[in-house]
């Protein structure tokens, strides 16, 4: 029989996180700090609206770009929260989670050989999506000493004549790093100078703890060069609803819609109705959850400080990214041993790129009680490691 597989797909590695989860789920009394989604249920009034839409028999396709009401609400939301102005009719459409938007944007914008700059550590799908779109990924390794922010110098150094697109994943998974306005201004200057485009994944934009999130698309001259990706998963605790959106210049959105139309048709109708409610009456829920995450964030950082683990202060998402280099083992060894000896699951930094070596990702999307128990075990673990050495 002939090989049924394409050369491209066989070069792509599966995500490294799942194998940890499989061990954890087999283990009794294991506690996880590994999950990358909110621990809150979707607020009831939002779920109720989804149920109501089903009761009313709204079970048909919506238009490809999404419900008009939803697109209008998204456009209003982006304006009131980040000062972004998008025409709901021409400059945005609703996707199946932010993930679809990443894939479709890459496929719309890349020709074979085009280089895509991907800062790492970062979410696991940028690189495979780029490869599947025939692009050439070029990794920029972010550094702990810069608080894992992207600097204009690092960006400049990675640019070649083939560079077309920069992925900008902030607030960042797994590090929790944010880019403030001043940081983005430096980046924007380089982008304009080299005539590049930006894929700004802002899925964690509602979860920032220093100041309000700033979108690079809100800087002068950047809207024309940026695709903004966002969604409901993290802000409104709606991961399972699979709902996101992409915004950008009409010339790009129009072409993205073609792929969306032929591959997906439309985002789930029930989810779209629920999302209208989320944007109309959900701001208070978001700020309550943000406040709760922020309390846990402070608690987690304090515990790291007490156990002498160095960790820069993350101002976004719901992750901390402490350094474990002092123990002289790889991230994966550390995570494995922690799981075997203390039954606590964390994700090795290397799951998010080679530059995550020497770090682990801790999620604080867990109740305070769970965090207490789990961090207590982490503390025992590092104390024992230090005694052994």
């Amino acid at each position: 029989m002939r090989n049924p597989l394409s050369k491209t797909i066989t070069t792509i590695e599966p995500s490294g996180i799942r194998k940890f989860f499989d061990i954890v789920s087999e283990m009794e009394n294991a506690i996880s700090l590994g999950v990358g989604e909110p621990d809150f249920d979707t607020p009831w009034h939002i779920r109720d609206e989804g149920i109501y839409s089903l009761e009313k028999g709204r079970t048909f396709y919506t238009s490809n770009a999404g419900l008009k009401e939803l697109k209008i609400e998204i456009s209003k939301f982006l304006d009131r929260r980040y000062g972004l102005k998008y025409d709901y009719n021409k400059e945005l459409f609703v996707t199946v989670g932010g993930s679809e938007a990443i894939d479709v944007a890459m496929r719309t914008m890349l020709d074979p050989g085009d280089e895509v700059l991907i800062p790492q550590p970062s979410y696991v799908s940028y690189l495979p999506c780029c490869v599947l779109a025939n692009g050439t990924p070029v990794i920029i390794e972010l550094k702990a000493e810069d608080d894992f922010r992207l600097t204009p110098e690092e960006l400049e150094a990675a640019i070649t004549p083939r560079t077309k697109l920069l992925v900008l994943p902030f607030p960042n998974n797994p590090t929790g790093a944010v880019m403030e306005r001043k940081d983005l201004e430096g980046i924007a200057e380089v982008i304009e100078k080299h005539d590049l485009f930006v894929l700004s994944d802002e899925i964690y934009s509602e979860l920032t703890y220093l100041e309000n999130h700033v979108s690079i698309a809100s800087l002068p001259g950047m809207k024309e060069r940026t695709i903004v990706i966002n969604g409901f998963s993290k802000s409104h605790a709606m991961t399972g609803w699979r709902l996101g959106y992409a915004c950008g210049p009409e010339i790009i959105i129009k072409q993205m819609l073609k792929i969306h139309q032929f591959a997906i048709m439309c985002a789930p109708t029930t989810s779209q109705y629920a999302a209208v409610e989320a944007l109309r009456n959900g701001d208070e829920d978001v700020s309550l959850m943000r406040e709760e995450y922020n309390g846990r964030r402070r608690y987690v950082l304090k515990r790291f400080q007490e156990m002498g683990l160095s960790c820069f202060e993350p101002f976004g998402a719901f992750y901390a990214f402490p350094c474990i280099k002092e123990f002289g083992m790889t991230s994966e060894e550390f995570a494995n041993q922690l799981l075997q000896s203390k039954k606590v699951a964390v994700v090795p930094g290397t799951a998010f790129g080679d530059s995550g070596e020497g770090f682990i990702r801790i999620s604080y999307a867990y109740s305070l009680d769970d965090l207490k128990v789990a961090l207590g075990r982490v503390e025992e673990f590092v104390t024992e490691l230090r005694e052994k050495r």
Partner: protein, 159 residues
Amino acid sequence: MREKILTFIEKNSRIDLKELAVILGVDETAVMNELESMEREGIICGYHTLINWDKAGVEKVTALIEVRVTPQRGMGFDKVAERIYNYPEVNSVYLISGGFDLMVTLEGKTLREISQFVTDKLSTLDQVLSTKTNFILKKYKDHGTIMAAKSKDERIMMA
């Protein structure tokens, strides 16, 4: 800061002071001082435990009693409310707008105990015009807490 402290301890009064200070991002002594003064000022009136008595296997009957009363000159409803709330078996007394005046909640061991209180003590007060007793059959949610068993964490590690 007061509102933040109150919002937090309303749901979790057993939290360690040190932890509370860390979570709120403020100084521990400041939290302690605020708590003390709010207790003194009567803003914090007590620390209680929310118990699911059904699960504990202890028989308890709770009744919500709607009471219509005649307000008294110069004292409105306060005087009669006081006469009612001084009974230790009375859990709460609220002045209510609408079809009746006072909502009294009462906890007892048996139906009989409660009906005795209503007939002997409450109805016989001069100012009480009428009472209507509603017994609670099942508590689904109390003090913002859902009584049903907590669901387990079904999230999986994706990314």
